[in-house]
Symmetry: C2
Subunit: 429 residues, 2 copies
């Protein structure tokens, strides 16, 4: 009995791969094939199809303001259900399997119900079940609040990790179990240079570094949860994103030793869940930023890009972006603030979008910013706001220009051409 | 902080009372009204509407033979969901509440997945939440397998208590918490002298003894789970069965000190989930019963009534009843046995039903049996099998004669007339 198996793989299947009984049986066949190669397997599952949304609707039919602790208990049942069904489907194929809740799998979190962060992973039960010859199916997206278990064996409080949290469950388990690889099965084939639904020339990347992937995810690429990428980076877990519907190689997310040789834009990200807020003629004095952004933070509104123009006549305009879904809340919070500050008013625009170029080489090459702005200008797309990071340049533009912006940037940075270094990178892996 | 509240009531709401959001809000209003009287409340809930059946169908779409342990994990989610929703609905009414799983409520069971028996109830968490001012909503029908919890706080294995198990959860919690009363809210007004859908003259009973209720439940009255009545009897928990839709007095199930004064049939039960099996010309030698009933028990088929006729020519006919849903299984098990024993063959009849008269006075008064048989004969209903207990006489008849049998028995035993002792019994309570 070895508690450190020779070859352990963590797999994660998303809700669209588990949308109905037939799909669950298909996923089980895929797991069974991997098992037949002799690998020990831990499989993290999301809730079936639209289950999470349906449970949210049920809660909304009961109350406008569901208690976060109760909502977590409710939502976690979706992953309990899919985990048991995948386990049953494996049994039907003659594969030994057992399903575990996040708490049973040893995942403990902080107390932030609805968006808890994993505090610790103590996968003793998982190891025991692996040693017993089981494929271990773990309900994703959830854990148990640290310290909440009863000393007499009563289970503690269920928490959930936020949208896409099953990715984080999978990567955290892979790290704790020191698994060789974490495979994220999803409804796309991997990470692309841009969203292929908007840019027909988009190309699948064979490899991408953690930092670049993190920027892509943060800037709107919805393939993986941001925190899962961070966790993979910190723990050096090699993540593979691949299709659950076809047998095709995916994209590897890992430390990219060849990053200096690329010096190139790796991909484009975009995000439509953006709205712009502008406070007009705000008196230019200390404490203004706190007065504006303190109440928004208290209301749970995440502010992204902030631009403050140079003031004149003792007043300045402040623009920033918020998630579009939070725009109404942000306006409600800010209306009284505007009056108190003596600003002229507030304008909003819910028809903007963000477009970003991402690449680990960008910070050494100022020419990329100029090329991005020039390309957008040539395409007739007006830039409303700009922000940059080490590996990214982001512009806020009108949403109507998004497709044109993505296509022209994809062409300008020659993203359709395979990177010659990639072949070397794969060989080095 | 008192850990033994002055007035504690356990309430249980069934699935039909929780079938949709509007009904859940109505149940919450009812709980809030009870709370407003100052009572401490523990509320046990079943899964919403047809949730349990839907989950069973989902499992059936995956595999013909779902693992019992996985099925328990799956089914338990139904009650988790309804518990959180009732809790949210109470919050919306400004009532403090918290939902707990069966395991969190301290309910541990034996290891019989799918039909586990409660081994222990240690409701420390429930008491703590009551002391915190909460109405405690407990997911019914479930517990945690005794001894399965990890020593490091990982939750143990979820078990379920079988159909109607939420009644048992409620009565067990009432016993452990020494609650004054356990109220079972259901879709009927209480316990009737017969099923009012079949016998229009059926009358609601104000009071019924545990033993009589047990016989009624065992013989097919589906208002309460048999084990819940047993548990109430053993622990002397006063149970009230009442409607969740109207404000009307229900039926009290409790020790009946006036039972000797009644000497009367209290009610009729019937059961259509019955099939008759007859083994023809079985050689009459020792060990036959074991050969027949051993394999049935191994296959999990519960045999109810058994009749063995006097043998002739060294052979005898053996008839018995099984649940109709198990008939195919019983036949499959018995075919080879019939050959081995040298019996002539096997016949089955899936169109029979059981009808019973129940009353604590019956064992002292042989005249009741004669009156029952005579009434059925007068009604043209043929009796196929008979069995009796201390407080019950049961006949197997053709299903087509069931309504006529019930109506004529109801009239013959004057069940439509209120029992004069009941008023005294209620006054004494």
């Amino acid at each position: 009995m070895s508690s450190q198996p020779a070859k352990l793989v963590v797999q994660k299947f998303g809700g669209s791969s588990l949308g109905e009984a037939a799909r669950i049986r298909r996923v089980a066949q895929r797991i069974a094939r991997a098992r037949a190669t002799g690998a020990d397997l831990v499989v993290v599952v999301s809730a079936m199809g639209d289950t999470t949304d349906e449970l949210l609707q049920l809660a909304a039919a009961i109350t406008d303001d569901p208690d976060a602790r109760e909502l977590d208990m409710l939502l976690a049942t979706g992953e309990h259900q899919s985990a048991t069904l995948v386990s049953m489907a494996l049994h039907a194929l003659g594969v030994r399997a057992i399903s575990l809740t996040g708490a049973q799998a040893g995942i403990t979190t902080d107390a932030s119900h609805g968006r808890a962060r994993i505090a610790n992973v103590e996968p003793r039960r998982v190891r025991r079940e692996l040693d017993n010859g089981n494929v271990v199916i773990v309900a994703g997206f959830q854990g148990q609040r640290q310290g909440s278990a009863d000393e007499d064996g009563g289970p503690g409080e269920t928490t959930t990790l936020g949208r896409g949290g099953s990715d984080t469950t999978a990567v955290a388990l892979a790290a704790a179990l020191r698994a060789g690889r974490c495979q994220i099965f999803t409804d796309v084939r991997g990470i692309y240079t841009a969203d292929p639904r908007l840019v027909p020339a988009a190309r699948q990347l064979p490899v991408i570094g953690y930092e670049e992937m993190l920027e892509l995810a943060q800037q709107g690429a919805q393939v993986m949860q941001v925190r899962a990428v961070e966790l993979g980076w910190i723990n050096d877990v090699e993540i593979e994103v691949l299709s659950s519907f076809e047998d095709a190689p995916g994209t590897l997310i890992r430390e990219d030793p060849l990053v200096e040789q690329r010096n190139k834009v790796r991909g484009l990200a975009h995000d439509r869940n953006v709205a712009k807020v502008t406070l007009l003629a705000v008196p230019d004095r200390p404490g203004i930023a706190r007065n504006v952004f303190g109440p928004l933070a208290d209301a749970g509104v995440i502010v992204d890009m902030i631009v403050q123009n140079v003031g004149h006549d003792g007043a300045t305009d402040i623009s920033f972006t918020v998630p579009r879904v939070d725009l109404a809340k942000a306006e409600k919070v800010l209306q009284p603030v505007v009056g108190e500050m003596g600003a002229r008013g507030i304008t909003t625009d819910a028809t903007v979008a963000k477009v970003s170029i991402v690449g680990a080489g960008l910070h050494n090459a100022p020419g990329y910013a100029a090329r991005m702005f020039g390309t957008l200008a040539d395409a007739g797309v007006n830039i409303e706001m700009i922000s940059t990071s080490e590996v990214r340049i982001t512009c806020v533009i009108g949403e109507s220009g998004l497709s044109k912006a993505l296509e022209s940037l994809h062409a300008a940075f020659e993203l359709e051409r395979p990177d010659p270094v990639d072949a070397a990178a794969l060989a080095a892996g």
